[in-house]
Point group: C4
């Protein structure tokens, strides 16, 4: 039997992310860890219209533990990617956003997104105002599940990041629990947008010496 | 007697499309197929304030089957255009959006809108990440019903498209049912906006070799 | 005794206009004609938090017929301007918007805003797709009531306009009733924004020969 | 016992500011003065999900008078900054916004933001249309509480300002009561955005002679 509270929360957050433009066109998603299980949305559904009884419960190895009555539903294609952040970084929740600004940031930076000296950087766990925030960018693949190896590699190479950008696609963001994952997602969103605006204004995103 | 559920859904979707900027100024609209009938909104009304008993039921040849009690209402001027997608492409729902980004895309492209290598392209039925998505652009006419021939021609010449742009006007988008039509509309909207932003950043919308 | 229905409608529309960014900072407003009376909001209040019992009823010459119990309230400073459109153009409702795009349009055009060949132009009463829509621009004044003479002059010189822009300020828009005033306001808003975007893209807002 | 009405109002305003993009990522905030006390939100919480029983009551010297039952909560780090505007300028409410436009304005101006000849300037207490509105910009610090001295200095040097910008961070805005603080915040937000847009269009924000 799935965790009713967390299932309701996933649906509530998904509506809010839809309003922010993060999960339109059935893309994007969110998962929340519940002990040794993870609650994930179905694949390819309208994220802003999900109901708690549409949510899957999977184990930490990806095995389906509990599934919706609707037999046509499959667990989100992001599940294997969500599990990378959960298993490698002890994430309590992972958000996958198709935000236009996250996507645009991957068009303006090569291997890494980097920005420094913005107050919002302090919203990322462990970061201070003068630090340079770096987010690795991995190349997109034809199938979402094929991103798993590159995501794992990026997570291992950037042990302090809480996000990985995917070129021409979007971003995966996580945190120790759903509140910290959501806070991180909002801060990264702001920073991606700030970088796009700063480039337009001809202002470097990273200060000399940072 | 019209389909109450679908009529309510049309009103609900119209409110949501108004919030997205797709149907302001009474423009734009949506129809949903119900068996051998099609439910359509009235012409020239505030789309975000429609009620289910304002909805017309028309046959697949456009004949009015059931109409609102309010004798001043006429079926949407888009009806003949909606029927093209329904009859030629077996669409279960058609959305007509006056989105600023759809309109702007028609100012930046000549005969066809084209874009490749964006994850959101996968949201269009049959398309993969590396494919080039093409949307035909037809010229606008003084009266909306005069678009029907050009729309039919574009649909026949582009058998895999689920959208036709109208120069300096907007876009018609469809899908096999209302969920797929709405998902398509959100994905196209994202792609039109992405193209406008990419042009601003000097980034080509279509990759070499695609 | 004021018209309860229209008072409620004014408050409802004001909340909606606030969400659109037209009446932030207590600016902007709306009036609705009710026979020989006009219902107007108070001056300098938060437009999105007005209640029906805050609304004034004034006569067509501006005399206050009915006022809120709250003695600190005064009728909107726009009242004399609203009455110009009502008395000279038989407007049934007038909307005053501080929209950023309306203001920006006054920075990009000299004496007149003009645009042609956009579908949304058809949303303005009497206009066709190929027509050039012209909106006069008057200069702003230190006090809002001092705009009245220039507004009257513009209304008389442009007998087919349903809007007058005010430089570095915003726009007054009207229609035969509240629905047509609101529809006009949405269409003009779209056209002002389109003009700003077209200028950014280097595309003329008015076609040769139009 | 805290003021229930004001606590509810803080939560209501925080939800509204979240929708405007002013307090995402747990940043930003608001306080409201209640006689000799000040009601402030907790530090580092999701501002749009606060409940009235999360609000702190502090004295004018910053001492905590009443605190939420949840022992993990601490008063907002902005508290010492809020108290500067309250004690030095008799503010009845102070809003701290992380608005993208406020931040961007600090990238485009050096020591002072300045703008003239916009109607929205009249929304700032004591200002007229033709006046030049000036907002001091202070440099950001690694810790928010370290801003207090620079904020005090700016308040003393600019006795007619109701806002202080913080470089690469955001803005503090106040007013005689919560309505005037919120009205000021909306007007400043509009003016920061207008300045960013005017710079993009190559239009000076301050007129010659102003």
């Amino acid at each position: 039997m799935p965790n009713d509270h967390a299932s309701t929360l996933i649906c509530d957050l998904a509506r809010s992310f839809y309003a922010l433009g993060w999960v339109s066109g059935t893309g994007g998603g969110i998962c929340i860890r519940d002990g040794e299980h993870v609650l994930v949305a179905p694949s390819g559904v309208q994220k802003e219209r999900m109901q708690p009884d549409h949510i899957f419960t999977i184990a930490l190895d990806g095995a389906v533990v509990d599934r919706p009555a609707d037999a046509t539903l499959r667990p989100s294609e992001c599940s294997s990617l969500f599990l990378k952040a959960i298993n490698l970084r002890a994430a309590g929740a992972v958000i996958h956003s198709h935000s236009m600004y996250a996507m645009a940031a991957t068009l303006l930076f090569e291997k890494e997104f980097s920005i420094s000296h913005l107050e919002m950087i302090k919203g990322i766990h462990g970061m201070n105002y003068g630090d340079t925030l770096v987010v690795p960018i991995i190349e997109n693949t034809a199938r979402e599940c094929d991103l798993a190896d590159a995501l794992e590699d990026a997570i291992l190479r950037y042990p302090s990041t809480f996000a990985v950008l995917v070129r021409r696609h979007g971003v995966y963001v996580w945190g120790a629990d759903w509140i910290r994952a959501k806070t991180h997602a909002e801060c990264y969103e702001y920073l991606f947008r700030a970088a796009v605006e700063m480039r337009r204004m001809g202002i470097p995103t990273r200060m000399e010496g940072a």
